[in-house]
């Protein structure tokens, strides 16, 4: 920590007056190109968002109106699609956590030798994109499973695995698991109690971001749901485009803002976690 502060002082010409003037001037010169790059990037990223918001806030005559948003819940098929996505999201998140949390904790405590293997196995779903996975799934799934929307959930668990495992792994590495477990066990806590009242509260940030990532994934997934023939939220939005473009945009923006909030939650959780691990590193 001290080293960082030191290099910040010595290498930052705006703080350290003793640095040669030449460096300061170079920073001035750089500012113009940086400004240009940032403004162009900002324009490129904001323009479509602005257009989306503006379009969603128009009625069919092109006048400003909240009509598209207020009529959204009563549009045909919306509530069905929304609740289907909701059910799938909760089922996926529940299965994901029940499967991955005990596994990740067990690997960290008992078989750390397996960690490289876990890293490898959990990264594999990246190589299998949804469009490829669904071809194999629709061909090989038994009929009774294929008639249920939860078939999608089963494979969303696999798709979310790389993100979820990495987030749990980072969370577990940030706490001093060994000391916590030994303390709890030597005080007479059972394994269940150790897991539930010692490890889990310390993993809160990781659990939160794992859940948020899973929910965002399920609510945004179009490919598999569409090809499996289930009208989830994204599929409904794509279908409704033929009926009303403004309502489509309103639904799209609502979904987007929801995802945005969820993902900002992750970034915030990550930050609180890294702050904690930094504090841990500072105290020997």
């Amino acid at each position: 920590m001290a080293q960082v502060a030191e290099s910040y002082y010595f290498e930052n010409p705006e703080v350290n007056p003793q640095l040669p003037q030449r460096r300061r001037r170079r920073r001035k010169k750089f500012r113009l190109w940086r400004l240009v790059v940032l403004v162009v990037a900002l324009a490129y990223f904001l323009a479509p968002l602005y257009a989306g918001v503006k379009f969603a806030l128009q009625n069919d005559l092109g006048k400003f109106s909240f009509w598209a948003f207020t009529s959204l819940p009563s549009e045909q098929g919306f509530s069905g699609a929304f609740f289907l996505s909701m059910r799938l999201a909760f089922f996926t998140a529940a299965v994901e956590l029940i499967l991955m949390v005990p596994t990740a904790i067990f690997v960290h405590i008992r078989v750390p030798k397996l960690r490289p293997i876990m890293d490898f196995v959990t990264i594999l779903p990246i190589v299998v994109p949804p469009i490829v996975l669904i071809v194999g799934v629709l061909g090989s799934a038994p009929l009774w499973l294929k008639s249920s929307p939860y078939l999608l959930s089963i494979f969303y668990v696999v798709l979310a695995m790389p993100f979820v495992y990495r987030s749990l792994d980072a969370g577990l590495s940030a706490i001093d698991l060994k000391t916590l477990v030994e303390a709890s066990r030597s005080l007479g806590g059972s394994w269940i109690r150790t897991l539930w009242s010692v490890i889990m509260p310390n993993l809160r940030a990781a659990l939160l971001s794992a859940t948020a990532l899973t929910l965002a994934l399920v609510f945004g997934e179009y490919t598999m749901a569409n090809l499996d023939g289930w009208t989830t939220m994204p599929v409904w939005i794509a279908q409704f485009q033929q009926s009303d473009a403004h309502v489509t945009l309103a639904a799209s923006m609502a979904l987007l803002i929801g995802t945005w909030l969820l993902l900002s939650l992750i970034v915030a959780a990550d930050r609180s976690q890294s702050r904690r691990s930094r504090r841990k590193a500072g105290t020997p």
């Binding site: 290498e11 940086r34 790059v37 940032l38 490129y44 990223f45 479509p48 968002l49 602005y50 503006k54 499967l99 991955m100 596994t103 067990f106 690997v107 008992r110 750390p112 960690r115 890293d119 196995v121 959990t122 990264i123 779903p125 990246i126 190589v127 299998v128 994109p129 469009i131 490829v132 996975l133 071809v135 194999g136 799934v137 629709l138 061909g139 090989s140 089963i154 696999v158 990495r166 980072a170 590495s173 698991l177 060994k178 945004g220 997934e221 179009y222 490919t223 939005i237 794509a238 485009q241 473009a245 945009l249 799209s252 923006m253 979904l255 995802t259 993902l263 900002s264 992750i266 970034v267």
Partner: protein, 308 residues
């Protein structure tokens, strides 16, 4: 982003509570890891293994179930070859261009000395990089659609209607234009840590020996960053190559891309007798993505040599 923890696994010493060494507990100790790990490995094995094995098997079977090379043969000829080539080309374009632009953008942010800007960009990149799919299609239509697109209308006012200058949102290049929107933030996300690892002392050492700014980048900066940049571009390549939803909804399936052709065979739009060609395309995609990820892993390993 995803490989961030690969290769940094620090083994922890095992925490084994003292237990009396009876036969029963010895047995338990030996079998406990197997039992505890079984659900995960079975789930992943079935969830990934069964579909993949099914794809590989069916890529070499006729619709009636006889062994054949005809599916793979279709893949390397005519329309399916075209789709595969287009997909590769699209992925190359949408990995190299945002890959290079992303480095400049990330550099502009890393060197800005503004904590607020860095934090905002970190959040925005994380969100935008996950921003593929159908939402992207619809906001781009709202912005750049041919007649009602808001940006199109603006540009039309100043006499620069992009549509009358060869721009088309619904063709191959339109798809590439839209992909830039999530590829660029992804590159910023993966390259920022590498740029942060460029040490000021290297620059000073180069300057002390009389190197110009250009020579510093030519002989120090770029060689050190190269593995990270290549790794980022490979990741972007994979992300483009695998994408389906944006291209499908934007062009309504009119662009010939490998993922869209797979989608067509699933929805039963394939020509009679070619029903199983979807499995062959899927197998081809699996092979391309596996190779990409192997090289990505190598690039990352090389990158960690200098940085961190």
């Amino acid at each position: 982003m995803l490989f961030s923890d690969l290769g940094t696994s620090v083994p922890r010493s095992e925490v084994l509570p003292p237990e009396s060494g009876g036969r029963k507990s010895k047995l338990r100790r030996a079998w406990l890891p197997v039992l505890a790990m079984a659900p995960f490995f079975i789930y992943t094995g079935v969830g990934l293994g069964v579909p993949i094995v099914y794809i590989i098997r069916n890529a070499f079977l006729t619709f009636q179930g006889k062994f054949t090379f005809s599916n793979m043969d279709l893949l390397v000829h005519g329309i399916y070859l075209k789709g595969f080539e287009n997909s590769l080309l699209l992925s190359v374009i949408t990995s190299i261009i945002p890959g290079i632009l992303g480095v400049f953008l990330a550099y502009a942010i890393v060197t800005s000395n503004s904590g607020v800007l860095k934090r905002m960009v970190a959040t925005a990149s994380a969100v935008l990089a996950n921003f593929g799919g159908i939402n992207l299609t619809f906001i781009f239509i709202a912005a750049f659609g041919e007649t009602t697109g808001i940006i199109t209308v603006w540009l039309n006012h100043i006499g620069l209607n992009p549509w009358s200058h060869g721009f088309d949102l619904y063709n191959f290049y339109g798809v590439a234009f839209v992909y830039l929107y999530f590829q660029l933030p992804l590159m910023v996300l993966v390259i920022t840590p590498a740029l942060g690892g460029l040490r000021q002392s290297w620059r000073e050492a180069a300057q002390n020996m009389g190197a110009s700014n250009w020579r510093y980048w030519r002989h120090v900066g770029i060689p050190v960053l190269m593995p990270s940049i290549l790794g980022g571009i490979l990741l972007l390549f994979g992300s483009s190559f695998a994408a389906y939803a944006t291209a499908q909804t934007l062009t309504e399936g009119t662009v010939t891309l490998a993922p869209i052709q797979i989608g067509d065979t699933v929805s039963g739009n394939a020509i009679a007798g070619e029903a199983n060609v979807g499995f062959a395309i899927a197998l081809g995609m699996l092979i391309v993505l596996s190779i990409t990820m192997v090289f990505y892993g190598l690039a990352r390993r090389r990158a960690s040599k200098w940085l961190r």
